[in-house]
Subunit: 556 residues, 2 copies
């Protein structure tokens, strides 16, 4: 018997992003020409990307596929899932957006702040509702994470049911709503899930992620002991943590004020929607906070990653216009440093201690828990859904490979587990799951007003400038005699202070004069090249360094 | 009754270093004019110090104190305790050095490699021996850490006994020698310790640091499962871990080869001294390794912090001349990322996985333990020595403040605990422990051949160049008419690719022409300034960025 001839088209799945986390920020599902996208998030620059504000997943190759985009579906309102919305709408201006109430509200804020020219065409749904989108029937299901109103999707497609978890953990005692929808996942498992795509963030952490309830207990201990002001730092979008701080403030008879523009905006919208519940008597404006006795006050602040421009960073440096850290303050970092931010976070902590504050961070009290599943939760997700095929997503390669191992342990056939990179097209058809071609693309850097103007070559130049600075020598020579006219100009930045190094300056001047005297016969371009070579050699000899060197020679 | 008049001089203690860890790299003890120094280590650059190779503690203020330096005593042979030796000898050429055999051997290697012009005048002693140095009787005592032959000192001084722990942990099952000298510490405690200076590195970690024995068990599990080659990455100076890998290799019938120049040098010297015990039949040269079947081979490699130029970094990028990572390799990162290195370490892991290796790091197996005491060990040290006064050292401010809390819990009177910063002079006299003036100084950056030439201002320039690059416009004008001669030269680096941006170039050219035409009457210096202002404005308007801008104007 020959292989069965496929009667349906394959379902194509395209994770879009750069080299870091895979299948997190944006994923495209295509059947025929019809497509849906889940999430449109941004990535954050790493240390070797100076001057980059944020990074877009490179969705330009999708434009070449001539797709009919039926909708963009959102899982939740964190930046790495919604942050690129205005850029994506620039490319797909008519795409309808689908989101739960809080996500929709924060998408609106985002579109407004980015001055998007596209009207926000957002269809609001509740977790559990179904969206009928051509060949896709997208059934949302509630999951717990670190922001309320968070969903995953069960996509009923002609190639079977595909479950996409989004960011999730199985918090059995969440503080911001119901537990994850175990029942729906289990019933799908019985019906038959063809493919699971699941969050791998904590795949190298054994056990079960602590409940947000644990943080409540830690906050309680901290509030109990604090004599003066309390400040709690977290991400502006971690609405659940803000709720927790508000609850604890209420319990201890303290007022709550919010510092940080983004957090203020999020709190306002989430309260309007009734998702964040803070009584009016508890929430006070920041400018009223200074009139209250220290022991009656809690401040929620941004900057938990040590960002110098956010509130906590300014407090650490003593340059916040309204708040000054003082002896007796208790400052809680309710967060975990993102890899790469540790140094900045610890420096911020040290500076705050130096200013007299007691600083509580995760190593000292469990004032933060992850919003993502650990190994046992991942196995539970696999057991609930019992997928035929599995693709680990939402993680670096090291996480995906651990998640793949867990899936094998949890009973998924090894041959049915596929690890892919961003840009890889995966096809699901009657015969199985296949890795197809890879679309071009990678990172699109956003820097100032520029989108995609800066590439790896420019970043390498920046790195090299940062390592050794630059050095410029400019001179005028006589067109007739080739003689040096006046003094050559010597300018450097990020090299050494030349004013402190009269010797080096004298040496450079001598070199310019001798090169010009010895090569007066050469055309100006060649003399410039000769000068460049000689000065580079002298600088390296003297300093063992290689700044970016520029020699300019003008004939007069 | 009036206060008793001191009959003896005070003992002065001066921790020397920069802003990071306090009292770690170098400490000076002074009585009258006579002084000893403990350790001469270097610091490692943080992310905001591009192009810096390493950092010296600023010991120049000591030169102004007109001291008679009786000796430099070493605790152990890690870089952050010995690395600055040649620089310190440049300042104190005749100082005798005192060290245990392994430390002495690695000091010699260090002095040789740094081409020091000073003969290594090293007095070798064994742990437990006493050094008579003028008013100081320095009694060494053995401690466990992550390198053998490690000691702390009990300094008998006219102001009483001062115990200086150095880096230590209480490993009850060390793999490289005896346990720490509990008995000596306890007997001093009974006799009376006036002042304790103790390692604070892990003061924010509860419990007791795992024994090196735990790593042995983890290595055993990894070696048991590995089918192909095994590579173990660690610091070149972590001799104990190299011993462990050699022991495990021996047990599994594998040969061991060392990759990385610094590690090869350390292994050779430590074996000559009989401190590292690897039989000749087990250790093979790296170039013989490729002739062995994969399952018979273990490679020890450098680069566990993700350093691109070290062996592991080159393996991750596929550009090591002798070794290529292949499917079936098991690579063990027997290390913990130093804060700031996480991103590089994880990227290295991802790249190695992409090349087909199984990568085992600390999150997956306990293949690394700290060499420093945790909270319970710190309390034990305090109980053993029962100091009257306490100064937490060896840590960032956040660690010192936790260690101070532990000391209070362990019974040290709060008023007798002093937290100081580097450069602060502390005095111990009959009446107590006092914080005195602060010496000037901070970091001394070493970059290429330059020592101390680069300061914070240059680093800020480098940071700014890294963020937005630089932009140069150079033009010649007629001395007679002020007219532009030829085309202005436009050069940029780290900004945007100007060849891709014909519009920007055209705009700059237009601006140059119009500024020159409108201000022909101004002197050349003012025209240059006007040009600079106009071009800066245009660039910011067009790009929202502010590169370092340089406008040159030459009259001809």
């Amino acid at each position: 018997m020959s292989e069965p001839i496929p009667t349906k088209q394959p379902l194509r799945i395209i994770p879009i992003g750069g080299l870091g986390e895979i299948g997190k920020n944006m994923t495209c599902f295509v059947y025929g020409r019809q497509a849906i996208i889940i999430d449109t998030g941004i990535m954050f620059p790493t240390q070797d990307m100076p001057g980059i504000d944020y990074i877009l997943p490179d969705f330009r190759p999708l434009l070449d596929l001539d797709l009919q985009l039926l909708g963009i579906l959102y899982t939740h309102a964190h930046e790495d899932h919604i942050g690129a919305v205005s850029h994506v709408l620039d490319a797909f201006p008519n795409a309808p957006l689908f989101a739960t109430p809080l996500t929709a509200a924060l998408l609106e804020v985002k579109l407004k702040n980015s001055r998007s020219k596209h009207p926000a065409n957002i269809h609001i749904f509740q977790a559990g509702e179904c969206l009928e989108l051509g060949p896709f029937r997208a059934e949302s299901f509630h999951v717990t994470h670190s922001i309320p109103d968070c969903v995953g999707y069960g996509l009923h497609t002609p190639q079977g049911l595909v479950v996409f978890t989004g960011d999730y953990k199985f918090d059995n005692t969440p503080i911001d709503g119901p537990a994850s929808d175990f029942a729906r996942l289990a019933s799908w498992g019985r019906e038959g899930v063809r493919l699971l795509l699941a969050d791998s963030t904590n795949a190298d952490t054994p056990g079960w992620t602590s409940s947000e309830k644990v943080v409540e207990a830690a906050f309680d201990r901290v509030f109990h002991q604090a004599k003066g002001r309390i400040m709690v730092a977290t991400f502006a979008s971690v609405i659940s943590r803000i709720q927790l701080a508000a609850n604890t403030a209420e319990r201890y008879g303290r007022k709550l004020a919010i510092a940080g523009r983004s957090m203020q905006g999020n709190v306002r919208r989430a309260r309007e929607l009734g998702i964040l519940r803070i009584p009016d008597r508890t929430l006070i404006p920041l400018n009223e906070a200074k009139h209250l006795p220290a022991e009656q006050l809690v401040l929620m602040v941004t900057g938990s990653q040590g960002e110098p421009a956010a509130v906590l960073g300014r407090l650490a440096k003593g340059n916040h216009p309204q708040i000054t850290v003082q002896e007796g303050d208790t400052i809680v970092l309710s967060s975990h440093p993102i890899p790469g931010n540790e140094e900045m976070v610890y420096r911020t902590i040290n500076n705050l201690i130096q200013r007299g504050a007691e600083v509580i961070y995760n190593q000292l009290e469990e004032v933060h828990v992850s919003g993502h599943a650990c190994q046992e939760e991942m196995k539970l997700m696999l057991h609930l859904t019992q997928p035929e095929y599995f693709i680990p997503v939402h993680g670096e390669l090291r996480h995906l490979s651990q998640h793949a191992k867990l899936a094998k342990e949890a009973g998924v056939c090894k041959a049915n587990i596929l690890m892919v990179e961003n840009g890889c097209v995966v096809e699901l058809d009657e015969n199985g799951l296949w890795e197809r071609e890879r679309l071009p693309g990678g990172y699109v850097y956003v820097s100032g007003a520029g989108v995609g103007e800066i590439g790896p070559a420019i970043l390498r130049e920046r790195e090299s400038l940062a390592r050794s600075g630059f050095f410029l020598v400019a001179a005028q020579v006589s067109a007739l005699s080739g003689e040096l006219l006046g003094e050559p100009e010597i300018i450097s930045r990020g090299f050494v202070h030349l004013q402190d190094s009269a010797e080096t300056r004298a040496l450079i001047r001598k070199t310019v004069a001798s090169v010009l005297a010895n090569h007066a016969e050469l055309p100006i371009g060649k003399r410039r090249k000769r000068l460049q070579e000689n000065i580079a050699r002298i600088i390296h000899q003297e300093t063992r360094r290689k700044p970016f060197l520029l020699c300019l020679l003008y004939e007069c």
